[in-house]
Amino acid sequence: MAESSRVEALRTALPQRRKTASLWADALYRLSRNKAAILGGVLVILLTLTAIFAKYIAPYPYDVQDRPNANSVPSWMLAVFPMMKSYAVVSDKFLLGADYVGRDMLSRLIYGTQISLSVAYVGPIIALLVGTIYGLVSGYFSRWVDNIMMRFVDLMYAFPSLLLIILMMAFFRSTFAQSEPGTFAYAMNKIDERFGGMLFIFIGIGLTAWMGTARLARGQVLSIREQDFVMAARAVGASHLRIIFRHIMPNILGPLVITVTLAIPGYITTEAFLSFIGLGVNPPTPSWGSMISDGSQAIRTYPPQAILPALALSITMFAFNFLGDGLRDALDPRLRGTQ
């Protein structure tokens, strides 16, 4: 009982306004005291706003080609990259220059946030949704259901996921492109075209993202299932569904949110890499990955074309890493500084 009296003492020692703090409000308070996390959060918000309002922010459309100004370089950039003075077309029409067919780099970078950010949001949502439900069911029910479900996760876990995603992307792209109008595959392909090729990226990432969350959720459920409050709920006759979602889920959500947030940079790199090798977004939709790929071809002559998207990608990764670390420290102070 010493523990509870100590908790009580701590509670009275804390300022009054934190008296009613719930787990999440408490976490938010701790998060707000973490400078790096705040920086990350602000960056994430800015990037999200850029993605949403890309149409209004970008000075030019992302796909209009200004051939005479192809590979053009603004005059300020010559100060940073003096080697380009001798051969580059200098034009101040584009603030960050133009790519090899004369598309505005800045606008393409701005539109690129749409791809990276949507992967950053959709990936964790799929992982959380599928993984949590799968893990809850597996952990809560009888041993053989659990056994079969976890064997399946083990199986999926052993697959080299990046290679499988690549194979699936190739499969989606060619199968669905050749389908007859009116079929399911045709509809999928149309939706995919609408979103510049992102639907299949989501599916590819989604299919491989949920296993980690499922494992974690199951482990958490196993440790909570036997606790007294669950037994109490069962004793008063609560249904399985009610116990799972009302009593168990709120208790395991913290660690799940942490893992999912920490996985975001991974999803962003996966998309960037897929686009880099040409299996990601459909051209001319700009993804930082495909921009790096295009720029790398010209790294000897026009280095900014590769470096700018690389920087954009890195900054986004920084933002999500800072935010993820901060969230972990805030939601589970015991883990501070680990990993």
């Binding site: 080697m83 083990d154 199986l155 052993a158 697959f159 080299p160 990046l162 290679l163 499988l164 690549i166 194979l167 699936m168 190739a170 499969f171 060619s174 199968t175 050749q178 940079p265 962003i268 790199t269 960037a272 890499f273 880099f276 090798i277 299996l279 990955g289 790096i292 720029g295 790398s296 790294i299 000897r300 280095p303 590769a306 470096i307 998207p309 690389a310 920087l311 990608l313 890195s314 990764m317 920084f318 890493n321 800072f322 670390d325 500084g337 680990t338 990993q339």
Partner: protein, 351 residues
């Protein structure tokens, strides 16, 4: 323990079998075939090609044929009659008789090569890159973590952890072009792309010529690939050291008057490295997949480069061979980790 390993091994076989089945299904579910060209080949030629590679047979037969070729060892007389009979493992038994095992089939897109050739020539390159990257990760990560942990909350700690978050945040795909530009194009210290090692290799992957001509190609990609991993190692080492240093046995060691150097080296470090060692397994897996990305960026003729090309070319045997190879690495890495856990921490027992 023996039983545990045996069970895990059986499970591994199941995984590989299912994976091969999934791969086979995905390959063949895609419409079109490996001999589709922009300019269509005459149908007789396609027919002949398909007959040669048994692509005209029903799917189940093709799959069984693959299993048969890949798994069943056989004894044959003389040299292989064609590329189709060439095997990865070829041991001379007596006279003219050879034991042949693991035939992964020909490559459809490069006619004179087999999947075995690709494994023999490209896998060592990927392996060299992976080993170099992992070495860099350990050499940078562990000292950085130790310094940050021992000097907690000093400038060294903050500096180390800032570098670590930089390392975690900058992916190979972003770091690669920047490194290429700085060291390859601007300073011209290192070649921007390519690889310096050629077969034959000692012990399967160590190149004979270990001079600067080899290393100058290795440094940049290995660093790009290793940096992220070194950051993970550094953070883990630091956290684990901070935990260990508060243990009672450290206090005991200090209390009995041991010099601080010995306390750190003999008592704290050894115990704090346990979680680091166990993370090396998944890290190896990450590096194996990472080589795949790095090879694309630095134009290294490793296995990863072949995989992407083979997917677009519908080169079925190459796709299957590469995926299974990567999977074997991943599964083995996981197995080794689980066994190391039990070995390092006697509290863990597998039934």
């Amino acid at each position: 323990m023996g039983r545990y390993i045996a069970r895990r091994f059986l499970w591994t076989l199941v995984v590989l079998f299912v994976l091969s089945l999934v791969t086979f299904a995905l390959e063949h579910a895609v419409p079109g075939g490996p001999f589709d060209r922009e300019k269509k080949l005459p149908s007789e030629i396609i027919k002949n090609l398909e007959a040669r590679y048994h692509l005209d047979e029903p799917y189940w037969k093709q799959y069984l044929r693959f299993l048969n070729d890949a798994l069943i060892p056989r004894i044959a007389k003389g040299e292989p009659k064609s590329l189709l009979e060439e095997s990865l493992i070829d041991i001379k038994l007596w006279d003219d008789y050879h034991l042949r095992w693991v035939n992964l089939g020909p490559s459809y897109s490069s006619r004179s090569r087999t999947v075995n050739d690709i494994i023999r020539e490209q896998l060592p390159v990927s392996f060299q890159l992976g080993v170099a990257a992992l070495t860099i990760a350990v050499l940078i990560g562990i000292p950085m973590g130790i310094i940050a942990g021992l000097k907690q909350n000093t400038i060294w700690d903050y500096l180390g952890m800032s570098i670590a978050i930089f390392g975690v945040s900058v992916p190979v795909i972003a770091l690669g072009p920047i490194l290429v530009w700085i060291f390859g194009v601007m300073l011209k210290w290192l070649p921007p792309t390519g690889w310096g090692a050629k077969p034959p290799y000692i012990l399967f992957f160590i190149p004979k010529d270990l001079s600067w001509n080899f290393w100058r190609y290795v440094i940049m990609p290995a660093f790009a690939l290793g940096l992220g991993q070194s950051a993970i190692i550094a953070r883990l080492t630091r956290a684990s050291l901070l935990q260990v240093i508060r243990e009672d046995y450290i206090r005991t060691a200090r209390a009995k008057g041991l010099p601080e150097r010995l306390v750190v080296l003999r008592h704290a470090l050894r115990n704090s490295l346990i979680p680091v060692v166990t993370v090396l397994g998944p890290m190896f897996a990450a590096v194996v997949t990472g080589t795949f990305v790095t090879e694309q960026i630095f134009g290294i003729p490793g296995l990863g480069k072949y995989f992407v090309v083979s997917v677009t070319n519908r080169d079925y045997p190459v796709i299957m061979g590469t995926i299974l190879l990567y999977a074997i690495f991943l599964v083995l890495a996981n197995l080794v980790v689980d066994i190391t856990y039990a070995w390092l921490d006697p509290r863990i027992r597998y039934e």
